[in-house]
Symmetry: C2
Subunit: 301 residues, 2 copies
């Protein structure tokens, strides 16, 4: 029996395959986002990866798959992708194949399938709680126009705004010199051109913001604390709505790899959620996906 877990994020796709009790095999590929890339591209890309795996394990009798995909918030999108992937695996029997939002497998990995609160801050952000009865509840995750508080995008955009404000005569900040040196943003024209014409992803400036906040720049520090509070507020709203979540939380996502931000966000969440305990994620999202695939396999007999 072959189990496959896939973490298809916006930047990178990771795949883990395990045949019976053997050691897992892993491959990486470019990322996919269902909203950004559309269904056809997602089916072709992920279906191709799955056929690669089948070529490596010829003659398998059954495949169990769990795919976590970025931008797969809508149920009908996920069902259409699942149908496309089943067709890609034909004629190998696929007793179970599930497509879920990527944050679900991140939660599965972090808590090894148990209940708890996941605070994800990568390029975007979302707060996801799994209650004791196994159901997921979310807050945030509204995307860059409506939300993504405390995310790399929100932090980076706020850094760019602070530099624009300083050009306008607003509070001086050490971000001005740093973004000039590291991203060539040495004046208003360069800032406008980079952001709008060259479409520089704002999240590229998140590490600069965090570095200057850590060094004590008051503007950078105020922005960072404001963003951490905004994310923690959504965790509060969510836990208020879902009283059966055990009081533990885990932080995941690229921007939380920054030690300063990890510490700040943890402290902010502990203040916002009195009595809750931070826990280290147990496993990665792709391991969470493999875990779900294996669980499905066992459920199926």
């Amino acid at each position: 029996m072959l189990c496959i877990g896939i973490d298809a994020g916006g930047t990178r796709t990771r795949l883990l395959a395990r045949l019976d009790a053997s050691a897992p095999w892993t491959i990486q590929a470019p990322g996919v986002n269902l909203q950004r890339d559309g269904l056809t591209v997602a089916v072709r890309h992920l279906g191709g990866l799955l056929r690669n795996v089948l070529r490596r394990y010829p003659g398998v009798k059954a495949v169990h798959v769990c795919v976590g995909v970025a931008g797969a918030g809508r149920m009908d999108d996920r069902e259409r992708l699942a149908t496309g992937l089943r067709e890609a695996l034909d004629p190998v029997p696929v007793p179970s194949l599930e497509v879920v939002p990527d944050v679900w497998i991140a939660h599965e990995g972090a808590f090894a399938g148990e209940a708890g609160l996941l605070v994800l801050a990568g390029t975007g952000s979302i707060v996801l709680a799994k209650s004791e009865d196994g159901t997921f509840h979310r807050a945030g995750g509204w995307g860059r126009l409506l939300g993504d508080e405390g995310s790399g995008f929100a932090l980076g955009r706020a850094a760019l705004r602070a530099v624009a404000d300083a050009f306008d005569g607003g509070p001086a900040t050490s971000l001005t010199a740093r973004l000039a040196e590291r991203h060539g943003l040495d004046g208003p024209e360069a800032l406008i051109r980079k952001v709008y014409a060259e479409k520089m992803p704002p999240e590229q400036c998140a590490p600069d913001l965090l570095a200057e906040a850590e060094r004590g720049d008051p503007v950078a520090r105020r922005i960072t604390e404001h963003q951490a509070h905004a994310l923690a507020r959504r965790a509060c709203w969510l836990t208020g709505r879902c009283p059966t979540v055990p009081p533990r939380f885990a932080l995941v996502g690229g921007v939380t790899d920054n030690t300063y931000y990890h510490t700040l966000l943890t402290a902010t969440l502990r203040t916002a959620l009195p009595g809750w305990t931070p826990v280290a994620p147990i496993a990665t999202p792709v391991e969470g996906a493999l875990h779900r695939a294996c669980r499905l396999a066992n459920t199926d007999g």
Copy 2:
């Protein structure tokens, strides 16, 4: 001698033409934005309008033109557009033709060419001061990713965010019922679909925010006041940088047509700029453009 003023905004283009001392003639056409539509489209569109005017006034010996264009912040963009429009008018002599940012002609109209502070809040926002020596200085106007504080876009987006927050368990607001009724935003899926898939312009929700703020909804009121303060702060920074601007300000732009917001913004600016007096705009932007064209004509002799 024929003078032509053009206000080419993102939504609509207005043109005023005046032959010697006769009454001005006006036409309207679709809008143009130099960043959004590009140089070729802008030249074709505005050049076509100018040739229309020439057909109406056959045999004119000279044409003086002032064009205010949205998205024309960069000098070299404006020069290229001016070159294209001169070619479109060929072979009629064009002793003077200037292409300027649309906010310049708004200032020219509002203050009849005199010095003062213009606070523009339409879909976007900007603060533009003309000092006693005739030079312009700006703050804000960084576009929707980096700024546009107090604009229709910023107000509408904040209204959508407040409704998203309420769905997440955040503060209840009467905006939820209003945006459901007026824009079909009756749940998280509808909100995501409308904003991201259907790309509903957020500024469509600005009137809803202002209506609920006026009715006393605390969330809508807090957002509106926050946005008005953010715009007033930029006016403060700007006047701090430009001490030779006489202490008077005028409000223009679509969202300031709302009486509640106009009153709030005026009060906020008076608090932020002690001793400054609000003045009513004297003329419209297209009248400002015609005014500049006539002034150029007189300068040229």
